[in-house]
């Protein structure tokens, strides 16, 4: 399992795609970070009574991670699309399936490999707000919650991407499929009313919960279940590939 994960991460870091994604993501988010900072400075000059710490973390971090979440919806399908479908196309799946490993181990290996990459991305992302340490101290709890939220979102998006990669014979098809599902879950509750089933299923709602600095078990279990369901489906799909 760890062998597969390590190889996956290693190959990803050897591919230009990963570095381009990292670079673009950093560049775009740096811009958003600057805009957020600018907005905060403007706010502060207008409303000087805001408690310093709260205002700065709330505005800058919230804006940054909110935009990062949207970008993640775009890049997660791109990075996950090849996980299994490319192996199938190159007849490399045979290598994994003939190894003395269970389907669950193969799926988890693939999953953890990409999740490792997203963890790296999360760390890079958190460097930006940390740079503000030079001028003040952030609300650590809030920052940690937002980071956890981003990581959970990445974990869920990777699982969805992995499943679509397992069912699609072509990577492009997998990317379109997982992007469609993620976008649908994201936009499900765009109005923000957040009531009933629609609210409960909304990716955006649960992400916002963590971004606002509240670590809520309902939000965490949502991401956990979403991840779990798609990982189980992926393992089942591997079984179907062997017995069509």
């Amino acid at each position: 399992m760890w062998t597969i994960a390590r190889r996956e991460l290693f190959s990803l870091l050897l591919s230009p795609l990963a570095w381009v994604v990292l670079a673009l993501m950093q560049a775009v988010l740096a811009w958003f970070f600057m805009l957020g900072l600018d907005y905060y400075l403007y706010q502060r000059s207008a409303l000087p009574i805001l408690p310093e710490q709260q205002g700065f973390t709330f505005i800058v971090v919230h804006t940054l991670f909110d935009r990062a979440g949207v970008l993640l919806l775009l890049i997660a399908p791109l990075l996950s699309m090849r996980l299994i479908s490319e192996e199938r196309r190159q007849q490399r799946l045979a290598l994994l399936l003939t190894a003395p490993l269970s389907n669950t181990q193969i799926v988890l290996g693939k999953y953890l490999g990409l999740l490792g990459f997203f963890s790296l991305l999360s760390l890079l992302l958190s460097l930006m707000p940390l740079s503000l340490l030079a001028g003040g101290s952030p609300d650590w709890g809030h920052l940690a919650a937002a980071l956890l939220g981003f990581w959970c979102l990445a974990a869920a998006a990777t699982a969805v991407g992995l499943y679509f990669s397992a069912i699609s014979p072509h990577p492009a098809l997998a990317a379109i499929g997982s992007f469609g599902v993620l976008l649908m879950l994201w936009l499900l509750d765009w109005s923000g009313a957040g009531v009933g089933v629609v609210g409960a299923l909304s990716l955006y709602q649960h992400y916002q919960g963590l971004l606002s600095g509240v670590i809520n078990s309902a939000d965490l279990s949502y991401f956990f279940s979403l991840t779990g369901i798609f990982l189980i489906l992926s393992a089942g799909q591997l079984r179907r590939l062997v017995n069509p």
Partner: protein, 313 residues
């Protein structure tokens, strides 16, 4: 029984309403090289995929080391090495990295990994390219890396799907030598659509047509079946036909062109010797003498009893 490593028992595989493999049974013992021979689309790859556990048979069973491959836990697969038609390579990795990955994937750990990589590099002649990136290697070397991957964990059974396809003659010879060397330590099963290859490599040949086994023969048995009772004879100064027909053992002679003839003879006659002696004595200018062999197509036709040639080369 102890030396039978792999048994295929009444294998069937259907794809929808098409049946790719029907009623296929055979067994493989240690030290054997079993060749699955048949035209493209005969069901060779399907069969090998079933043996490797990559495809569940519609009916029938595969027994590996006495255990049912479908029911047994995944760890049984450590006894299998499989090379698909296209070697399962990661072009971005170096040969050593890739082989170490394969070794760990098959459950080797620690110092055993490096030792296994060194061993297969030696066995497969990869020592000069260990630090090269796989994507930049030639097709022949990539194929060797593919074989190295299949034997890195010293499996009891090695399954090779068309191991020499797409290689040039020198590379083909190298791969064949490698396969022959491997048979000392492993039981091998390979597929091919080239008759001479099966003859050159395999101790046992199973001929498959349209998913069914039509013939199972040892190497010697196959050679006997390929043997025909005719010779091709090339003479610069051919004598009259009557003179040739008078040679003892000859049953019929026919002209192919001005200098070539086909000579039919009785099965027990050792005609080549007699003909050479006669040609020298009569100064016929012998320049060619070829015992005729049946082609794969002829065998198919003879065995299947129909006159439609299978679409093979």
């Amino acid at each position: 029984m102890s030396d039978i490593l792999l048994v295929a028992e009444q294998l069937y595989r259907h794809y929808g309403r098409v049946s790719a493999v029907q009623e296929l049974s055979f067994s493989l013992a240690r030290g054997q090289i079993l060749g699955l021979l048949g035209p493209n689309g005969a069901g060779k790859s399907t069969t090998l995929r079933m043996l490797a556990g990559l495809l569940v048979p519609s009916a029938g069973r595969v027994w590996l080391l006495g255990e049912d491959l479908q029911q047994a836990p995944p760890r049984l697969r450590a006894a299998l090495g499989y090379l698909p038609e296209q070697p399962p390579l990661y072009p971005e990795l170096r040969v050593a990295e890739y082989l170490a990955f394969c070794a760990r994937l098959r459950g080797l750990r620690g110092a055993a990994v490096a030792a296994a990589v060194a061993r297969v590099c030696e066995q497969c002649g990869l020592s000069t390219v260990v630090q090269r990136v796989i994507g930049q290697l030639s097709r022949g070397y990539q194929q060797r890396v593919g074989i190295a991957q299949a034997i890195i964990h010293e499996p009891a059974v090695v399954i090779l799907d068309e191991p020499t396809v797409g290689l040039d003659p020198v590379q083909i010879q190298e791969i064949r030598n490698l396969i022959t060397a491997l048979s000392a330590r492993h039981a091998l099963i390979l597929s091919t659509h080239i008759l001479p290859e099966a003859q050159a490599l395999c101790s046992q040949v199973l001929i498959i047509k349209a998913g069914r086994a039509v013939l199972s023969e040892t190497r010697a048995g196959l050679a006997a079946r390929l043997h025909t009772d005719s010779l091709l004879l090339g003479l610069r100064r051919p004598p009259p036909l009557a003179l040739l027909q008078a040679v003892p053992g000859v049953s019929a002679v026919a002209w192919l062109d001005a200098q070539r003839l086909r000579v039919q003879h009785r099965p027990d006659a050792h005609l080549a010797e007699t003909l050479v002696a006669a040609a020298v004595a009569g100064d016929w200018g012998l320049f060619e003498l070829i015992p005729e062999q049946r082609s794969l197509e002829h065998i198919f036709v003879a065995l299947a009893g129909d006159d439609t040639l299978p679409g093979a080369d």
